[in-house]
Amino acid sequence: MNALLKYALPFALGIAVLVAWQVAVRAAQLPVYLLPAPSDIWAAFTSDFASLMASLWATLSVTLAAFALAVLIGVSLAILFSQSRMVENALYPYAVVLQVTPVVAIAPLILIWVGYDRIELALILIAFLVAFFPILSNTTLGLKSADHNLIDLFRLYGASRWQILRRLQLPSALPYLLGAMKIAGGLALIGAVVAEFVAGSGTATGLAWRIVEAGNRLEIARLFACLGLLAALGIAIFAALSALEYALLHKWHESALKKQA
């Protein structure tokens, strides 16, 4: 009953809003270039299906590549930091600088350096810059949060640094990393969209560019269709990462415990 309500309620609300939207737009006879009805958006979506899917794939591939790069480099750097306080002290401030500088401001530079002939790579780099910091900072924190008594116990048993890292610090950091991945997944998508906006005309083929294009042509129904796809993409990424988190943590971590009523 509760589970049914949990899913049925937001779904019913969504349907109600769509119906009200449809009725209101038709009743007020709003022009389609101001606010299209849901049926107009659906029509734009189906008539343009193939090219929208191609754009979706372009944005998705940039997002996934940037996300994978963010996890790989973020975790590697965090491990490096955990092994050497000196390296951490030297590099961490620059990671922060990179984080606090609005990436849109760096994007034109990256586009020039990487070049428009390798636009895909430039987009990935920009999205990566947006996504990588939460992975680095959370994993660094997670690696440090290993139980001190357990570290002592490992030392008492003569564990090597590698054994402490693999058997103690990495598992301790896992919940932190998974939390960061949920944030970074969304950020990678935002980064990909921003990168497409900055990259602009011609070379870019992703959903963000389609939005700019549709806006310029006042094809508002198609713009909404693109927005819907972006939202669906964001939800899918979040859901996939939540599922991964559940799969890895539900057996042991406090966060996955069902609250007793």
Binding site: D152, L153, F154, L156, Y157, R167, L168, P171, L257
Partner: protein
């Protein structure tokens, strides 16, 4: 019995300036059950960590005869790895030593049986009660057959029945394995029940003020807690803690 380890004029001050120990002389004989008793802040735990080699003394020496034996440590918290099941937790020392998996599993399973946890190998720590978690922690400690077992107020957080049943089980393990146990507690009764010798400590600075040799019967059970001998032992420890002659 010969000395297994000796502390000579050991002092320890921390970076904060706290003088945790000053002039501690203590001998631990092979096979004995030595309890360190004292008020909080008297440096009991510091002595244990010095023996374990987790910290170094500021002055004096900690020496072993002939050399540092295989040592295990049990903390006040069970300090289990929450992501690993009971068997993997119990296997820890063996895994880190590179014992092959089949043998490590067999030895860890045996240790779990000895602490009364057979059947719980696949359970995760969060599914267990506080007393059971402590049993896993003890199984982890004895799985590698240590010669020296260091225990830092292991039962302080448990309720009385769990504590007494763990006391009895610990005595059985100690007798069967012939290990040397150094046991930190602030409970007079616990030290009187368990120990063959009690070192009474006092704070500011932490030091050993008296050593009391006890002669409890080899086989103890609940009824021993009601005997005059037990009361006398507890009385001596208690009096020494208060700084009076018994």
């Amino acid at each position: 019995m010969s000395a297994l380890l000796t502390l000579r004029d050991v002092s320890k001050s921390f970076a904060s300036g706290t003088q945790a120990l000053a002039g501690v002389d203590l001998e631990v004989a092979e096979g004995e059950f030595l309890s360190l008793v004292g008020p909080s802040g008297c440096g009991k735990s510091t002595v244990l960590r010095l023996i374990a080699g987790l910290i170094a003394p500021s002055g004096g020496t900690v020496s072993f005869t002939p050399s540092k034996p295989e040592t295990a440590f049990v903390f006040q918290d069970p300090t289990l790895m929450p992501w690993a099941n009971v068997l993997v937790n119990a296997r820890l020392a063996l895994d880190l030593e590179g014992v092959d998996l089949g043998e490590a599993e067999a030895r860890a399973a045996e240790a779990l049986t000895r602490v009364g946890l057979s059947g719980f190998e696949r359970a995760f720590p969060r599914e267990l009660s506080g007393g059971m978690k402590m049993r896993v922690s003890i199984a982890r400690a004895i799985a590698a057959k240590p010669k020296l077992l260091l225990m830092d107020e292991p039962f302080a957080a448990l309720d009385e029945p769990a504590r007494q049943s763990l006391n009895d089980d610990l005595l059985a393990l100690w007798r069967e394995d012939g290990m040397t146990i150094v046991f930190v507690t602030h409970s007079v009764y616990e030290s009187a029940y368990l120990s063959t010798r009690v070192a009474v400590m006092r704070a500011r600075p932490g030091r050993v003020v008296e050593e009391i040799v006890l002669t409890p019967p080899a086989a103890r059970n609940e009824s021993y807690r009601l005997t005059p001998e037990f009361s006398a032992a507890a009385g001596r420890i208690s009096a020494s803690l208060k700084g009076k002659a018994a």
